[in-house]
Amino acid sequence: MADVLVVDGLDVTFELHESEVKAVSNLDFSLAEGETLAVVGESGSGKSQAFLSIMGLLARNGRASGRAMMGDVNLIGLPPSELDRYRGKDIAMIFQDPMTSLNPSLRLRTQLAEVLVRHQGYDNDKAYRAVIEMLERVGIPEPVKRANAYPHELSGGMRQRVMIAMALLCRPKILIADEPTTALDVTVQAQMLDLFKTLTNDFGTALVLITHDLGVVAGVADRMMVMYGGRCIEKGPTDNLFYDPRHPYTLGLLHSTPHVGKRAARLDPIQGLPPSLEHLPKGCAFHPRCAFRFERCFEERPPLLPVEDVREKACWYQGELKYGKVA
């Protein structure tokens, strides 16, 4: 299948008072039409910033360089006025916190319809009808009534459904969902993932699911990209990474996730804290927390190299990863 997004050498840096911090370094990946890619990592791994930079939504002190090709267009470095031709239309984004991501002073119908008016040239009536239809589709009861409501009249789950409806109105080629279920009740999370899967399937939209929750990834993602310290350290098909992780960090992540039905005496968290991006360790950024490290890891940073046909990892250790040694 054709790639809808090809990212190549993406760097994101933030200027602080006296220093510069590199939040994302040399990120490469591609996204095929209609597939679901999970981007996994701890807070500060650069996973959100990478995609905010593609959307042109970095904070004022952030700069991105490299390429993010959507067809013939490089989204990185495009001035906002140019970017606005694609944002919301071909590439849309959903954010973590549905409570604050909708404008509290505007009716939902206004916030939804404006997307269609802007990108498809619909008149208000036509846009309104399309909005109602989409609200129905994302499972909002009494869509006509809800459309006239303000965000604070809806629950968190309902608001996230509205966000999904908003993002999908123009049937984008790419949907980026940044921790879309983190702020929601567990019971609602599963429904929401289901909804993502159905709708992106129906519309042929490629989904990027940014998350730190491996439970979310398991049933939904086709491929998976694990990030640490601003870099991709392992990527490949979800099943391969889940059942046969090759990077010690991926292994650690899997063992720090509780599994329903599997009664473990205790969880095995990865020891230590994620590194500060201002002071990344020399060599492999993960080596201070890694149980498999050896001399080389302290000095040289491992490049991201193919392991088998379909997967890549950035790790010097080539032996077998044994669980139990991680902690």
Binding site: M55, G56, L57, P80, S81, L83, D84, R85, Y86, R87, G88, K89, A92, M93, F95, D97, T100, S101, L102, N103, P104, S105, L106, T110, E114, V115, R118, H119, Y150, H152, M163, M166
Partner: protein
């Protein structure tokens, strides 16, 4: 929305009563009375005068009599200028004070909003720095000093505008007083607007609007202005009442024919009726303005309506 407005009106009534009561008694705490100044009056005459104005009654009775008249819309007589009722005197001064206050209010609001928005959108660049500095100057110089400075510079040295006085219909006479009145309020509004605008531009929902590719203008006009105005509007009501009361001092400095003159002479003469009447007028203005602000507030922030 209508029900909300009605509830606000009803809740304003007890506030009015409390304020009138407090003002009435505080005024009587001040030493002296309306007939202490000027020439010494014979005891009979004084007693007659006191009886005429009910000042011989117990204080609480006086209070009830005053309230009774007030409910009939009567502010009573002036105790010093006995040819006029308080209402008549206020009616003479009020139009000018209102005109001055509202002109300054309009100027201050427009200048403040524009300056604040421009500063917010150029955050930490030179237009922002210049505006923030100007705002500080406007805020820290009190109006009696600023008034005198402007009179000196623009009225005397440069002779661009008259330094004081008023000729009906003359705009040049109003420029300096309006500037003095408007300056600190423009500054405060600019600061509020700048702050809330910067905050709103950094919110998640503005980020959502940007992710929808709406374009800078639509984001500003539809998504940012309304929420950014909420703190500004809540200041406008009290701000306008400050402007109307602050004009008392400015009217005095520029020798202008507003209520300020009556209020100050009334206070010096212990003219109970006049001072109380002026205070009640201001009280009424402030209550009405706050009411208007509450209603606008409910429009800007839908959550308010449901409380």
């Amino acid at each position: 929305m209508l029900g909300y407005a009605l509830r606000r009106v009803l809740s304003a009534l007890p506030i009015a009563l409390i304020a009138i009561t407090v003002c009435f008694f505080i005024l009587r705490l001040a030493p002296g009375g309306p007939f202490d100044t000027g020439r010494q009056l014979p005891p009979d005459t004084l007693a007659n005068l006191r009886a005429h104005y009910n000042l011989d009654q117990p204080l609480f009775m006086q209070y009830l009599i005053y309230l009774g008249r007030l409910f009939q819309g009567d502010l009573g007589p002036s105790m010093v200028f006995d040819d006029f009722s308080v209402a008549e005197m206020l009616a003479i001064g009020l139009p000018f004070t209102m005109m001055l206050g509202f002109s300054a209010f309009t100027v201050a609001t427009l200048v403040g909003l524009v300056a604040g928005a421009v500063a917010a959108m150029n955050q930490n660049h030179w237009p922002d720095y210049v505006l923030v500095a100007l705002v500080m100057v406007g805020l820290v110089i009190p109006n009696f000093l600023m008034g005198s400075l402007l009179q000196l510079v623009f009225g005397v040295y440069l002779d661009w505008f008259p330094a004081g006085g008023y000729v009906p219909g003359s705009i040049p006479h109003l420029i300096l007083p309006i500037t003095v009145l408007a300056l600190p309020h423009a500054g405060r509004i600019a600061r509020l607007t700048r702050g809330s605008m910067i905050e709103v531009l950094g919110t998640n929902y503005v980020r959502t609007a940007r992710s929808k590719g709406l374009g800078a203008r639509l984001i500003l006009v539809r998504h940012a202005i309304k929420p950014a105005l909420i703190p500004v509007v809540s200041y406008l009501g009290p701000g306008l009442s400050y402007l109307l009361t602050g004009s008392l001092v400015v009217e005095q400095i520029f020798a202008l024919p507003g209520i300020g003159k009556y209020f100050i002479t009334g206070a010096l003469n212990r003219d109970y009726g006049l001072v109380l009447g002026t205070t009640i007028l201001y009280l009424f203005i402030i209550l009405v303005l706050n009411l208007i602000v509450d209603v606008i507030y409910a429009w800007l922030d839908p959550k308010v309506r449901f409380r």
